[in-house]
């Protein structure tokens, strides 16, 4: 098993280090940077490249780059080689700054039917340029509708088993809900790529104002709100701000509502059971999203071993 590391500063604290050691994790999938194409710009641009505060030495690091689909909507065929080159160079530069040698690179992009050709061409061009193994994330809808969205030209895929629902005020969690995933899992059996399974172990909150979600509250959990006198609990995962207040750097207006979404150990076991069932136990690796002591503290320290055992 391994973990995704998705923070903009690479710095492992003791809990994170212990978790990696206890579970004999030697590989980390580290987000190097995002790529976006802001409306006002004439070219795609990298965002928030990672900075290393502690050394990644001792771990096998696999760079991951998240590219917004918009980039491939706007990228012309003529601009593709230059873009691929830029991405490659930046990945190299980051790796070299920490003496990281990786045999694999991973791309994360929620591509669509329209961007399929450009994205796949990008992957092919990248592979020729870097001569490394390639993997990429696959979302559930891309499994089910692979006839339309195609199979990416990579060595293996990572099935992203989260963020499958709409971010809204409904009772369903946008991170994981069985009723949603069940629409897709039967398609797994016939999917031709080897798949790792990426599992969510994070929580977040949705700040709701006038019935609309206005902000995501990164890594906030119910524990934080239960103890806060500025908030009134409406239900196990919903709160209302009784007055205007600051919390964890966010500001809440009086009347703002918070919906906390999380994934339980039971959910994770359920996911593994479902995926096992629909792939005939052909899950290659488990990768947990994401490594952060803020996430880890919500789970029993043996959780990861249990989930891994569940895959058998």
């Amino acid at each position: 098993m391994s973990f995704y590391y998705w923070r903009t500063t690479f710095s492992l604290d003791s809990q994170e280090i212990h978790t990696l050691r206890d579970n004999t994790v030697d590989t980390l999938y580290v987000r190097y940077f995002d790529v976006d194409w802001p409306a006002a710009d004439t070219a795609p641009t990298p965002l928030a490249p990672i900075r290393f505060e502690s050394s990644p030495a001792g771990y096998t690091i696999i760079p991951v780059v998240y590219i917004r689909n918009k980039v491939f909507e706007k990228l012309t065929p003529a601009a593709l080689p230059g873009f691929t080159n830029n991405v490659h160079t930046l990945i190299q530069r980051i790796s070299q700054s920490q003496a990281i040698v990786s045999r694999e690179v991973q791309f994360d992009c929620d591509w669509t039917e329209r961007t399929k050709d450009t994205y796949f061409q990008f992957l092919r061009t990248y592979r020729t340029l870097s001569k490394q193994a390639l993997s990429c994330t696959i979302r559930l809808h891309q499994v089910k509708y692979s006839g339309r969205t195609g199979i990416p030209p990579v060595d293996h895929g990572i099935l992203m088993y989260y963020n499958m629902g709409a971010i809204d005020t409904s009772s369903l969690s946008s991170i994981y809900d069985k009723s949603i995933s069940h629409r897709y899992t039967p398609s797994l059996r016939s999917y031709p790529l080897t798949l790792d399974l990426a599992l969510p172990v994070f929580t977040w909150g949705l700040k709701v104002r006038d019935g609309k979600v206005v902000q995501l509250l990164d890594k906030m959990n119910t524990g934080l709100f239960d103890k806060d006198s500025s908030f009134r609990r409406q239900s196990p995962n919903r709160y209302t701000a009784a007055q205007g207040c600051f919390k964890s750097g966010y500001y809440f207006q009086a009347g703002d509502q918070v919906k906390i979404e999380s994934v339980s150990a039971g959910d994770l076991k359920e996911i593994v059971t479902d995926v096992n069932q629909h792939t005939n136990h052909h899950i290659r690796n488990l990768i947990f999203f994401d490594l952060d002591s803020q996430n880890l503290q919500s789970y029993d320290k043996d959780l990861f071993k249990e989930i891994l055992a569940h895959t058998d």
Binding site: D108, D218, G249
Partner: protein
């Protein structure tokens, strides 16, 4: 999920879909303020303009990237005042901004008077500080900041700065050495050292720009130490005291928990300092209502209210209903009623406007009446009041009659010719409301004058009604206003009618009416409209040499000639082919598209999909062309002629097939659907053309038309 490094308050969702906030960005008069008729510049201090409500990060600025040059000009000025005549301004500019350390060193050796010497001593140290203080914004893909910047060893430098600071007797120099030391400690030392340096002189320092620059580094030092209460308090002092650093202070201001926010408030020595904090919260944390109430309670005369009032109203102007608007209107009305702010008139205008936006037109009118008495008699405040009143009157009207028209006339004349720099997005709403009032009363012509709807002219009755209205022999002043306002003028209608008639083959009527559109009639067509090719090539036709160039009027005249000759039985085949070609060419398919291009039909259509759906069928119809080609066929004398007619008909058949299928849908769908878009169809014209295999023309077609070649291959 990821928090970006550069824009700390925006979450980039890496594995989730993007969230759009409740604010809908409407199409803007300016790229900065979206929909608005309430102008902050009229009553808010210019120093706050970056914080006017805007879709940009900072109004008028976008993202603030002036870090490296912000103080260049003031720095030169301050040194210039202190040095007097001993150093020329251009030299000073050069030395302070661009000179290398070598140049500075050499300047130092040549300086003789005490002040210059002191200046150069300072400059030599200041230059060394640039190694860590001038960090350029890194360009994308060029991330040199990836590597940990080698830590600048400032031990010697700091000691020198400290020595100079201690030894300085002139307060000007003393303060500058102090600033350099504080900054150097911030970048290179421990935060406590920066604070220690800061505290050693802060009380003595005059509260000028250098002071606030130093204060902002002290704030940063507290932030590094996670003492957020103090850090944010200092940032608020910088925000308050230094205009150049308002954006920086605003961006750095970041309370974490309610407890540190309360701690910041507790540090305030005056109610004005508290008002500053509430204003900052109100701006950046989008709670202007709360901020307004807190500041009003502290001090109704606080000028901090102005910016928040402008933001609150500008937010309320955006489409989309916010439940906090009712509370906001109530609060603003309360304040307007109390008349105890520094500018009661703007609160009255705001109360009126918010009521207009909430459709409470009577309440709004009474607020405007109050504002009449209090609004200063200067251009901009008066103009805004007049605008808002007019908007309210029109928005609140249920019918329109000549009495209302007379009342509105001077106001509308004023509005449509208004040159003052005030926001006026409501003009669109005014036009729309007038149009709907006229529509409701049955006056379609006037409605069209205020809001042009292209499909209006698809109805001959509408077209005639507007033409009549625009042709009044003695129009009243209000009529004149309508004429001016109307996007479509009389000549535009005549031109449109001429085109319509021509395409329907009513040439006499076309001739009569094109005379009324004199300038448009002279528009030159780009190619020979009477020409046809086997493979349509508009560019070829446009570039080919033309002995005669045809204007729109010329084409109609020529069509008349052809028609008369055909009627007289003269050379029917040739003339019918020419007329057919022209009818083909003036459609979207032809080389004389310019003929149909006019204000009503539109122009620059790269394909039928972009043609207004009200007119698409007309502008792509092959009906008239087919009629003439069929006539030519019936008059054809030999196989060559018959072959040509059949082929020309085939082209029309192909176009009609497109019209029935992909162009009928209007969605420009190029889907690879071979059922809907077969690769090949056997046109009737093709089938007929086969019988003329012995003609020269047949062979020309074979050479140029791949589809025909395929067809003959398939059927042999």
């Amino acid at each position: 999920m990821t928090k970006t490094f550069l824009r700390k308050y925006w979450l980039i969702l890496t594995s989730a879909c993007c969230i759009s906030t409740a604010v809908v960005l409407a199409c803007a008069d300016s790229g900065e303020y979206m929909t608005s008729s309430f102008t902050p510049e009229i009553f808010v201090d210019e120093a706050y303009s970056p914080f006017f409500y805007s879709e940009l990060f900072y109004y008028g600025i976008g993202h603030d990237e002036d870090q490296l040059i912000r103080f260049n000009n003031s720095n030169v000025q301050e040194w210039s005042s202190w040095l007097g005549k001993t150093v020329k301004p251009e030299t000073l500019q050069y030395l302070l901004t661009t000179a290398s350390s070598k140049a500075i060193d050499s300047g130092a050796t040549r300086s003789s008077d005490p002040k210059s010497k002191a200046f150069f001593s300072y400059l030599q140290l200041a230059k060394k500080c640039e190694a860590f203080s001038l960090t350029p914004i890194s360009r994308p893909w060029d991330e040199d900041t990836l590597k940990r910047k080698p830590r600048f060893n400032a031990t010697t430098l700091n000691r020198q700065l400290q020595q100079q600071f201690t030894a300085a007797t002139d307060p000007f120099l003393q303060q500058r050495y102090w600033f350099q030391l504080v900054r150097s400690q911030f970048f290179n030392g421990a935060p406590q050292d920066a604070l220690h340096a800061f505290d050693s002189y802060a009380q003595k320092s005059p509260t000028n720009t250098m002071y606030y620059r130093s204060l902002s580094y002290a704030a940063g030092a507290y932030y590094k130490l996670k003492q957020y209460s103090k850090a944010n308090y200092y940032y608020s002092l910088v925000y308050q005291g230094c205009n150049e650093l308002k954006t920086t202070a605003h961006y750095s201001f970041h309370p974490q928990e309610e407890s540190d926010w309360r701690g910041t408030l507790a540090l305030c020595r005056t109610s004005d300092e508290k008002a500053t904090l509430w204003q900052m919260l109100g701006i950046f944390y989008s709670d202007p209502n709360r901020a307004l109430q807190e500041i009003y309670q502290l001090n109704p005369k606080s000028d901090k209210l102005d910016l928040l009032l402008s933001r609150a109203v500008n937010i309320a102007e955006q489409p989309g209903i916010d439940s906090s608007q009712v509370a906001l209107t109530r609060f603003i009305s309360r304040v307007a009623e109390a008349r105890n702010t520094t500018k009661p008139w703007i609160w009255q205008q705001a109360a009126g406007y918010l009521n207009t936006l909430a459709d409470n037109y009577t309440a709004a009118a009474s607020w405007y009446a109050k504002a009449d008495a209090t609004t200063p008699k200067t251009d901009l405040p008066q103009a805004q009041l007049r605008l808002l009143k007019l908007y309210n009157t029109i928005a609140g009207s249920r019918t329109i009659d000549s009495k209302l028209e007379q009342k509105l006339l001077p106001e509308l004349q004023w509005l449509y010719h208004l040159k003052l720099d005030i926001r006026r997005s409501c003009v669109g709403a005014i036009d729309k409301k007038l149009a709907s009032l006229y529509t409701a009363s049955g006056d379609k012509a006037k409605a069209e004058c205020f809001v042009h709807k292209s499909e209006f002219f698809a109805s001959p009755a509408n077209t005639a009604a507007l033409k009549t209205f625009l042709s009044k022999p003695s129009p009243s002043p209000y009529d004149q206003l309508c004429y001016e306002r109307s996007e479509i003028k009389k000549e535009d209608i005549s031109e449109y009618q001429a085109i319509q008639y021509t395409m329907a083959d009513h040439i006499d009527e076309a001739l009569a009416v094109i005379k009324e559109a004199d300038s448009a009639s002279k528009t030159i067509l780009r190619g020979n409209p009477f020409n046809a090719r086997i493979r349509d090539c508009h560019d070829c036709d446009h570039e080919a040499p033309q002995k005669i160039k045809y204007s729109k009027a010329d084409l109609i005249k020529k069509l008349k000639e052809l028609k008369d000759k055909i009627a007289a039985g003269q050379d029917v085949y040739t003339n019918a082919v020419l007329a057919g070609n022209a009818q083909y060419n003036i459609t979207q398919y032809g080389n004389a598209r310019v003929f149909y291009e006019c204000k009503i039909y539109g122009s620059d259509n790269s394909g039928p999909w972009s043609i207004d759906s009200a007119y698409r069928t007309t502008l792509i119809s092959m009906k008239t062309a087919i009629r003439y080609y069929t006539l030519a066929l019936s008059a054809a004398k030999d196989d060559e002629q018959k072959a040509k007619c059949q082929y020309l008909l085939a082209k029309c058949q192909r176009n009609e097939w497109y019209n029935k299928t992909i162009y009928a849908k209007g969605d420009n769908d190029f889907a690879d659907d071979t059922e809907r878009n077969p690769a090949f169809i056997e046109w009737d014209g093709f089938k007929a053309l086969k019988q003329y295999a012995n003609t020269k023309y047949y062979n020309e077609v074979l050479k140029e038309c791949g589809y025909f070649k395929t067809y003959t291959g398939k059927t042999h």
